[in-house]
């Protein structure tokens, strides 16, 4: 009877150990989404800006009118420094300064210059949404001035009529003043520079983690674990041996994956801007720190995997245990790609920091911006996490749990739980 088979399969697969990780991860994903916030709402919100008008000419009046209508203006004056302070205080996006000769330049057949001082808060993909809204406003200013020129029957160069303004961007980001780059360009650059590491880390953790968890499942399924545990070798050596062996397999698998992925990524070159020109280059010590961060995070991930692996009853149950690791790796990757560590809510910060493999994902961006405490703190945390997890694993290896599994309540009534014989 097919119904009988379906019932048996369902009962075998629909068990607490396979459902619980999915429920937990679903809750975590839901909470993360809630905390990151809604992109649509961010776009609908009026951007907070400051305006400095030193021109007070016909065209600057048009610009002011467009800006005041479509943005929340927290400063409207003539002092750039004062304006910047006010915008910062009000958590604003940018200060737009219109220089004294703005209108005259346009009348003289030269583009009018708008100086934009951006206050950039984060370098994640979602962090540049509000600056994108301001860029839209500048486009609107451009269009209004074009319309005015056309209405006035201007004899200017048609190219100027279509694009009567030009921008001079200065971005303030984490203590750095970066001239000539807008937040969206900078964010794109930083994302394109640092996107590879999160993907490498994610693949490494998933592949090496799956190897170590499966190895534990296979030891039990193939009945080799008991022999291994009676050999004259320290439990800690068994744990570390399994971790390093799996790390090597994971690295080979990730390397193969990355060959294909890097070829894929070459088709997504954002621009040929060299970040080193803006003081955002990495030195030798930075690359060393990235390497250490990656290595320690891998060990931390694998130490967690080996603890999870001790719960595997066989190869099949080991596959289910890979899921929490995969989900944690994905959560880290997405949060790090879309948001900057500094712009996420405190709860999410704790979550990201607590996942040890988040740290190499954040390392490149942090080092470009000289945020050494975050990187070194992450390395120290991942190292402590590894030692703690190895200690837990060794403790489990020294206990009965590895061979006997959990003793269910019914054992108390005279029957034994799974996994052990008398």
């Amino acid at each position: 009877m097919i119904g009988n088979i379906i019932k048996k399969e369902f009962k075998e697969l629909f068990i607490l150990s396979t459902i619980l990780p999915i429920v937990v991860i679903a809750i975590v994903y839901g909470s993360v989404g809630q905390m990151i916030g809604n992109v649509g709402e961010t776009i609908k919100e009026k951007p907070v800006i400051g305006i400095v008008d030193m021109d007070a000419g016909n065209f600057s009046v048009v610009a002011m009118s467009v800006l005041t209508e479509n943005a929340k203006v927290v400063y409207n004056g003539t002092d750039t420094e004062e304006g910047l302070q006010e915008v910062r205080k009000e958590n604003g996006v940018a200060l737009l300064a219109i220089p004294a000769n703005f209108s005259q330049n346009i009348y003289d057949n030269r583009p009018g210059e708008i100086e934009i001082y951006w206050i950039m808060k984060g370098a994640g993909m979602m962090d540049s949404i509000s600056s994108g809204t301001v860029e839209g406003l500048i486009q609107a200013v451009n269009q209004e001035i074009s319309k005015m020129l056309i209405r006035q029957g201007s004899s200017s160069d048609p190219a100027l009529v279509l694009n009567p303004t030009t921008r001079v961007d200065t971005t303030f980001f984490k203590g750095k003043e970066i001239k000539g780059l807008s937040p969206s360009t900078l964010s794109n650059m930083l994302v394109s520079q640092s996107i590879v590491i999160p993907i490498v880390v994610m693949m490494l953790i998933i592949m090496a983690g799956a190897s170590v968890i499966s190895s534990m499942g296979l030891e039990k399924e193939n009945k080799t674990l008991e022999t291994l545990l009676t050999l004259p070798v320290r439990r800690s050596h068994i744990v570390i041996g399994k971790m390093v062996g799996s790390a090597l397999v994971g690295m080979i698998m990730a390397a193969i994956y990355m060959i294909g992925f890097s070829r894929y990524m070459t088709s997504f070159q954002f621009s040929d801007i060299n970040l080193a020109d803006f003081g955002l280059a990495l030195g030798m010590q930075d690359y060393l720190l990235i390497g250490i961060s990656l290595f320690v995070a891998l060990l931390a991930g694998l130490s967690l995997c080996i603890v999870l692996g001790t719960f595997a009853k066989n190869y099949r149950s080991a596959q289910a245990l890979v899921f929490p690791i995969t989900a944690l790796a994905l959560i880290s990757t997405f949060i790090v790609m879309f948001k900057d560590f500094d712009t996420i809510p405190a709860v999410l910060k704790i979550l990201v920091f607590a996942i040890p493999f988040s740290h190499p994902m954040m390392a490149i961006r942090a080092l470009m911006l000289d945020n050494y405490p975050l990187v070194i703190g992450g390395i120290a945390y991942a190292a402590v996490f590894t030692v703690a997890m190895v200690a837990v694993a060794v403790r489990i290896f020294n206990s009965d749990r590895l061979l006997t599994g959990s003793v269910r309540k019914r054992a108390a009534r005279g029957k034994l739980g799974w996994g052990f014989r008398r």
Partner: protein, 238 residues
């Protein structure tokens, strides 16, 4: 020196008491058999002596080393063959023996150990094939080779001939006997009472976590006025 001294051993799994205070000794160069039905506590006793399980109460001393304090020392001188043991399927039989031998010695001693393992397993050319391709009997012979090649002072064998045909079972018994001739102490469990009678110098009958009788096969048969150990066991547990 006694090979094994077990005193008032108790082993609990949660609230369930699997072993209820057993005591016995195994002498050097002796084959000591624990026999009893499935679920009597044989495997738990062997696993505890093999350093795999924690002791709830009581004591175990192996060649003067006390468990669990000196588990590392005990592991250097014992060899444990679980009832349902397997070998790494992606290795060849010889690679598997190499893997195990590396934990015990190196150089010339290592080579000698491997030769001994090859000799005991006696798998001919098939030793170079992957374990995955072995029959159950071949795997068991490889594992017996693995267990005895390391020259343990104490071999702990859980149902050593389980699942083997008559020919292979006889071969394994011959190998065990020859190891004992070389000075190894053997503690084995079996529910095959005939095998135990043939193989063991002394026997303990275990039932429901308790040793109900012990002695040589002749002593037990005499004590329970039985024709064989099976009959003696049935009478002992009544």
């Amino acid at each position: 020196m006694k090979a094994v001294e077990v005193r008032e051993l108790v082993k609990d799994y949660g609230n369930f008491r699997a072993i209820k205070g057993i005591s016995f000794e195994v002498n050097e160069g002796e084959i000591f058999g624990l026999i009893g039905p499935n679920g009597a506590g044989k495997t738990t006793a062997l696993r505890t002596i093999a350093t795999l399980l924690q002791i709830t109460s009581g004591s175990i001393v192996v060649f003067g080393y006390e468990l669990p304090k000196q588990a590392g020392e005990v592991r250097k001188i014992i060899s444990y063959l679980p009832e349902e043991a397997g070998a790494y399927k992606n290795l060849t039989g010889k690679e598997y023996l190499n893997f195990i031998a590396k934990f015990f010695c190196e150089g010339e001693k290592f080579e000698n150990m491997i030769q001994r393992g090859l000799q005991i397993a006696n798998l001919g050319e098939r030793i170079n094939d992957k374990v995955d391709t072995y029959s159950k009997g071949m795997t068991r012979l490889l594992l017996v080779g693995r267990a005895l090649m390391v020259n343990p002072r104490l071999a702990i064998l859980d149902e050593p001939t389980t699942g083997l045909d008559v020919i292979n079972a006889q071969e394994v018994r011959r190998i065990i006997n020859s190891a004992v001739g070389a000075g190894v102490a053997v503690l084995l469990s079996s529910h095959n009472m005939l095998e135990v009678e043939l193989l063991c110098h002394r026997i303990a009958l275990i039932n429901d976590g308790r040793i109900v009788a012990s002695g040589t096969a002749e002593e037990l048969k005499k004590e329970y006025d039985a024709r064989n150990i099976e009959e003696a066991f049935v009478r002992a547990i009544k």
